[in-house]
């Protein structure tokens, strides 16, 4: 028995060492980024250190005054991510509501259909999408980046799972008895009950849109319309060594840290939300 406890102790120690090692492996890059964004170009050329310097504000000011429209880019990213995440959760919930609450002809077929299209990558229809955007005259418009969020099979699937478990039909019938219309019942009874699921999915949808690079890079051309990932790609394409490295790190930090800060506050819900939808329990 004693030997057994001893071996568990050893296994536990190994587990902690490996876990701490991988935690460092995950965090190291961001710590280095944070430190480097506080150092001047001269200091950065000098050598490697993990001790922060005092040039953070100067680097940020230089970045804002520089040639890349980063503040504009962040605003564009914010607008697109905010609107598309709202559309995604609202209409995915509505679609889930249609297929959970009502019994109509073709319901199972529609469900199977949505599950079947869930895996289609957006890239495979990108050519047609670019053609469509051109035909509609919507180049440099945010509409083709926001409106398609209405049809999001993955968010729908999560909402459907959550709704099947958490929306009592009795409440809907009670609302009907009180004479509420179906649309009002959805907005007033269903949506408030879905709040936890809506919050989780909104974060995921927001982050996905915020990080999206492929499709926006095919639709946005003008500098003042570009989103942060496109500006990052532009920074990469520019002749790198001529740059003030302090500014380069400031730019990367500027794109990454808002998400990290939000994540640190909401990590409990985000990590919990990873499993609830995708996997059968």
């Amino acid at each position: 028995m004693k030997k057994n406890i001893g071996s568990i102790g050893i296994r536990r120690a190994i587990a902690y060492i490996v876990l701490v090692f991988f935690s460092i492996l995950c965090l190291f890059w961001f710590v280095l980024l944070l430190v480097n964004s506080t150092r001047s170009n001269g200091e950065l050329a000098g050598g490697f250190t993990l001790i922060p310097s005092r040039f953070f504000v100067i680097n940020m000011t230089n970045l804002f005054k520089g040639s890349l429209p980063v503040v504009r880019g962040m605003l564009n990213s914010l607008i697109i991510a905010a609107l598309s995440s709202i559309l995604t959760v609202y209409f995915s919930t509505m679609t889930a509501y249609a297929l959970t609450v009502y019994r109509f002809k073709g319901r199972t077929a529609i469900l199977t259909f949505i599950l079947a299209i869930m895996m289609i990558p957006t890239q495979v229809s990108a050519l047609g999408f670019v053609n469509l955007v051109g035909a509609m005259g919507l180049e440099d418009s945010f509409i083709p980046l926001i409106v398609p969020a209405v049809a999001s099979p993955v968010t729908f699937f999560y909402m459907k799972q959550y709704m099947s478990a958490n929306l009592p039909m009795s409440l809907i019938e009670a609302a009907r008895m009180d004479g509420a219309g179906e649309f009002k019942t959805f907005n007033m009874v269903c949506l408030p009950l879905m709040k936890p699921a809506i919050a989780v999915q909104m974060i995921f949808a927001f982050v996905a849109s915020w990080n999206n690079y492929f499709i926006p890079s095919l639709v946005l051309y003008k500098d003042e319309k570009k989103t942060l990932p496109i500006l990052i790609a532009q920074l990469r394409a520019a002749d790198f060594l001529k740059f003030d490295m302090g500014q380069v790190y400031a730019m990367i930090a500027f794109s990454i840290f808002p998400v990290i800060v939000v994540y640190l506050f909401l990590s409990k819900y985000i990590v919990g939300g990873v499993t609830a939808g995708g996997v059968k329990e």
């Binding site: 995950c26 980024l33 995915s92 299209i117 794109s255």
Partner: protein, 305 residues
């Protein structure tokens, strides 16, 4: 009375169709029509040769023949798969290990919330920015080279992005860092779903932890395992942001890190719509087959009831 009741239900149920309208209207306009347009374009010769527009002329399967015969597709498919496998093997290994540790009641790992928060973090980071970060950190004059030199590990700066395998390894490593936390959490959920009685019975019978893991956990984990594997493979086929930014779209050195979607992006930019269309259709077919496997393994149909 019965008739009235039925018509009332019917009246409500028509709202099911109404609530589906936004989803399907947007799906048809922004996904289905583009998809058909892509397939349609794949049968036409349509590109710019210098300043002259060639086509569109109907060429049947000509674009497919050209794609499959000129050899590039095979090379880029191989690149994509090599980098996916290089990232996926450590990803599935460490995810299984961590999920087993986290769910093992006799190990009682403390600080689980902290570890899960930290290992999931890279999954939310903008891949474009993360790649730019790695590009600067691993450049010839970057801090990683400076660090290695000051530790005396290397004598002169190592050109990470000029060597085939170090470039591929960097891309695979970034994919690994970004995805192993996600996989760990998915596998954990699967392991927690396995009945405790089975483990207790096995322990009573004197099974070792290793035996329990291979004889009980792994077989019962199969559906989630297949789900993780195939969704990761589909994600791997879509690999784009990381190699695109890291190599500035060139897929260098010597196009050894050029992926299928980077290839697609090239055709889209050079407006070779015929080849772009055919490439998209091939990708769609591969994805469809893979999805079918997930569909079977997960038995989604049961859930839709």
């Amino acid at each position: 009375m019965v008739k009235k009741e039925k018509s009332k239900i019917g009246r409500y149920n028509k709202w099911g169709y109404i609530f589906l309208i936004p989803f399907f209207a947007v799906f048809v306009v922004f996904q289905l029509i583009p998809l058909f347009n892509t397939i349609y374009n794949s049968f036409f010769e349509n590109y710019m040769s210098g300043l002259t527009q060639i086509g569109p002329n109907f060429v049947g399967l000509g674009n497919y023949k050209e794609l499959l015969s000129n050899g590039d597709l095979g090379v880029y498919f191989k690149n994509t798969m090599i980098m996916w496998v290089m990232g996926f093997i450590p990803q599935i290994f460490f995810s299984l290990l961590f999920a087993a540790w986290f769910t093992n009641p006799s190990l009682k790992i403390k600080g689980q919330r902290f570890f899960k928060t930290v290992i999931y973090l890279p999954n939310l980071i903008m891949a474009a920015a993360f790649s730019m970060l790695f590009f600067t950190l691993f450049s010839r004059v970057g801090p990683i080279n400076k660090m290695l030199i000051s530790f005396g590990l290397i004598a002169k700066p190592y050109q990470f992005l000029s060597n085939v395998w170090s470039t591929r390894a960097l891309i695979a490593f970034m994919n690994f860092i970004m995805w192993f936390g996600n996989t760990t959490i998915l596998l954990m959920a699967g392991m927690l779903g396995i009945s405790k009685d089975l483990y207790e019975a096995a322990e009573v019978d004197g099974a070792t932890p290793t035996q329990i893991f291979f004889r009980i956990t792994l077989p019962l984990l199969k559906p989630i395992f297949v789900y993780v594997m195939i969704t990761s493979l589909i994600g791997g086929l879509q690999m784009y942001d990381v190699p695109q930014i890291l190599t500035d779209g060139t897929g260098d050195p010597m196009r050894s890190s050029m992926t299928l979607i980077m290839y697609l992006n090239r055709h889209l930019y050079s407006k070779n719509y015929g080849l772009a269309g055919a490439l998209s259709v091939i990708l769609l077919l591969i994805t469809a087959v893979l999805s079918l496997i997930v569909f079977r393994a997960m038995d989604f149909k049961k859930e839709t009831k």
